[in-house]
């Protein structure tokens, strides 16, 4: 099957600063691809560019055969993006937040309802979904926005630090959800600082540093290449 996402020689400059320096990678259907690297390496810029909210300086992003630069609106129909510090509308309840995005994505009320049911299940917030988001803890908000990102079953979910702010139990639950959705065909591009998480959830890993993709492979391949016992040691080798 053709790759869901193809990033080719992607470059992104902010003024004089080159944040991303010609990186290339691809993601197959049902594959979980993790970008790991130190702060300022270019992970979030890459994720934002794939999510069509930043324009690349050069290079291309192709999503399911669609040029993201030429047809960003078409690409947005196929993706879902979870920013690292995603907030939610405080005046809304959890339920109305999920409903809003379900209705944005689906014209068919039945599909929107199905997405809403999925969202409720992933969020796992029970009766608290009826409460205003202003009363949610950081962890509850994170679970809700993650549910929003997954409930539409996008071709590609772009998750920036998906378990940020979650406790261990909730983080494990989220990883299981990501794996489950991937097994059903959803591709995932994620970034994380949690190497244990990356090793558990990812099929392949891209090590990025100073805007360059230094290594791509399965966690086992990466560890072997850097002679590391775990991904954390490989990460340190690249970061230095």
């Amino acid at each position: 099957m053709p790759d869901v996402l193809v990033v080719d020689r992607l470059v992104k400059r902010y003024g004089q600063v080159e944040a991303v320096k010609g990186i290339s990678f691809s993601i197959a259907p049902g594959e979980v691809f993790a970008l790991i690297g130190p702060n300022g390496a270019g992970k979030t810029t890459t994720l934002r560019t794939v999510a069509t909210i930043l324009h690349p300086t050069s290079g291309s992003v192709t999503m399911a055969g669609i040029d993201a630069l030429a047809r960003p609106a078409a690409v947005r129909e196929l993706i879902s993006y979870l920013p690292e510090e995603a907030g939610a509308y405080k005046h809304m309840t959890g339920e109305s937040y999920l409903r809003f995005f379900a209705e944005v994505f689906f014209a068919d009320p039945e599909l929107a309802q199905a997405a809403l049911v999925t969202g409720r299940r992933i969020a796992g917030l029970g009766d608290r979904l009826a409460d205003k988001l202003g009363s949610y803890s950081k962890g509850m908000t994170r679970k809700l926005v993650l549910a929003r990102a997954l409930m539409t079953r996008p071709r590609l979910a772009i998750l920036d630090e998906p378990t940020s702010g979650l406790d261990v139990l909730n983080a494990i639950e989220v990883r299981d959800q990501v794996r489950k959705f991937a097994s059903e065909g959803m591709s995932v591009l994620l970034s994380s600082h949690n190497m244990l998480e990356v090793e558990y959830v990812s099929d392949r890993v891209g090590l990025i540093s100073r805007g360059e993709l230094r290594a791509v492979g399965t966690p086992a391949e990466i560890k072997e290449r850097f002679g590391a016992a775990n991904l954390e040691q490989a990460f340190v080798a690249v970061a230095r």
Partner: protein, 432 residues
């Protein structure tokens, strides 16, 4: 279109909060309460008391008392002969009015000699009511003076027309507007137009600032609350995104302005009745105003509404752009300063200056401001100057289209996430 509807509902829910509705309700209730208070004071103050210190006790002094009573005063005859002493002893409440009629007043008039009345007004406040009572006193004494004058002329001559002798020249005022003429005073016309259009610049100013503040805050709060990135990655076109925010803000602004207008009209109506102001003048001269064509038909009201609404939309579109540059809600409010100035200039000019009499340069600058045109629309429509109104509408439509285009481009570009006014150096470093 469906997504626009979903977004519009979301934006409306965001704007129609208790924090927004509560001050609005309080304001309307306050207008009502103040209006009723003013109305109550009118009823109570309808018969203000005039103290007459009559040292004469003649038929002439009785006529003075009669004039005061005719003017609606409750006349109280005070003892003594010195009104200053009586006024000094006044312990209120309210305005104290004292009229001193000196001994020999009636006899002096009868012998054809001019006489002097002395008044003392004890002022305890500077409200409309104090001014109203003073004006009523002057009118009553003018009437008494006129009556005395006519009596003296009658006594001194054999003329059958003493009024003609007193006022040999009478004035018949006419006003011409366009090709229409009516026998009416310029003051009556001015009062009528003011009564019809006073609220328009006030309400327009309030609505523009209110709506602009709302929309800039919603854009900035999307950034501050970290919801913007999610929204931008959702399958929603940039134009619907901008237009939904504008539609919601303009709807809320219109509802709010209607509420404010209702409250202000209620209050001003009560105040007008209390002070005997323009409403009565305008009402009495209604036929002349019709004759002059100073009444707006449905078409003219529609044009006026179009001009006002376009003014609001232009402000909203500019506020979206300004809000997009702000990092948070507080910064968004600060960034609205240029817009506030652009609205205030034509607002004050409309009130204080005739733009047509300014220098060509000033006129060109002021006319270049899009918000000048809704302020000019109402007077132009009363003068049936449709060209000015249509040109203003066209000019505002161009501004609106340009501002929406720019706003859409800003939302479609990296700038919505990366641009911070005054922070260009650090923005680039922060992004990766």
């Amino acid at each position: 279109m469906r997504r626009f509807g979903v977004l519009l509902r979301k934006e409306l829910r965001e704007l129609m909060t208790v924090q927004m509705l509560l001050p609005l309700m309080v304001t309307i209730v306050m207008f009502g309460l103040i209006g009723n208070l003013v109305g109550g004071q009118t009823t109570e103050g309808g018969g203000a008391t005039a103290h007459v210190v009559d040292a004469d006790g003649s038929a002439a002094s009785e006529r003075i008392v009669g004039s005061l009573a005719d003017a609606g005063f409750i006349v109280v005859t005070s003892p003594g002969t010195d009104p200053a002493v009586a006024a000094a002893a006044d312990d209120g409440p309210g305005t104290g009015i004292y009229i001193g009629i000196p001994a020999g007043f009636g006899a002096g008039l009868a012998s054809g000699q001019a006489q002097k009345l002395t008044t003392y007004t004890v002022m305890r406040n500077f409200s409309f009511f104090a001014a109203r009572d003073a004006a009523a006193l002057n009118a009553a004494l003018d009437a008494a003076n006129r009556s005395a004058s006519l009596s003296m002329i009658s006594a001194a001559t054999t003329s059958t027309d003493p009024a003609g002798l007193r006022d040999p020249i009478s004035l018949s005022e006419n006003v011409i507007i366009g090709n229409r003429s009516a026998p009416v005073t310029i003051a009556a016309v001015t009062n009528f137009i003011t009564g019809q259009t006073t609220f328009i610049p006030i309400v327009l100013f309030i609505v523009i600032m209110f709506a602009a503040s709302m929309i800039a805050s919603t854009v900035a709060s999307e950034k501050e609350n970290k919801t913007l990135e999610t929204l931008l990655a959702a399958p929603i076109g940039r134009a619907p995104m901008v237009l939904a925010k504008m539609a919601a803000a303009s709807l809320v602004a219109l509802v709010s302005s209607a509420a404010y207008l209702f409250g202000m009209q209620y209050y001003m109506g009560k105040l007008g009745a209390a002070t005997g102001g323009g409403a009565a003048v305008a009402g009495g001269a209604g036929a002349a105003m019709d004759q002059l064509g100073l009444t707006l038909g449905a078409g003219e009201w529609a044009l006026l509404f179009a001009s006002l609404f376009l003014g609001i939309l232009v402000a909203l579109a500019i506020a979206v752009i300004l809000g997009a540059f702000a990092e948070n809600v507080r910064a968004a409010q600060a960034l609205l300063t240029p817009l506030t100035i652009a609205v205030m200039i034509p607002y004050f000019l409309t009130i204080f200056v005739d733009l047509d009499t300014t220098t060509p340069l000033v006129r060109a600058i002021v006319l270049a401001i899009p918000f000048t045109h809704p302020f000019r629309a109402a007077p132009a429509l009363f003068l049936r100057d449709y060209g000015t109104v249509w040109l203003g509408i066209g000019y505002q439509a161009l501004w609106f289209a340009a501002a929406v285009f720019v706003a859409t481009k800003v939302f479609a570009s990296d700038r919505i996430l990366t641009l911070r006014l005054g922070r260009r150096k650090s923005a680039a470093k922060e992004r990766p």
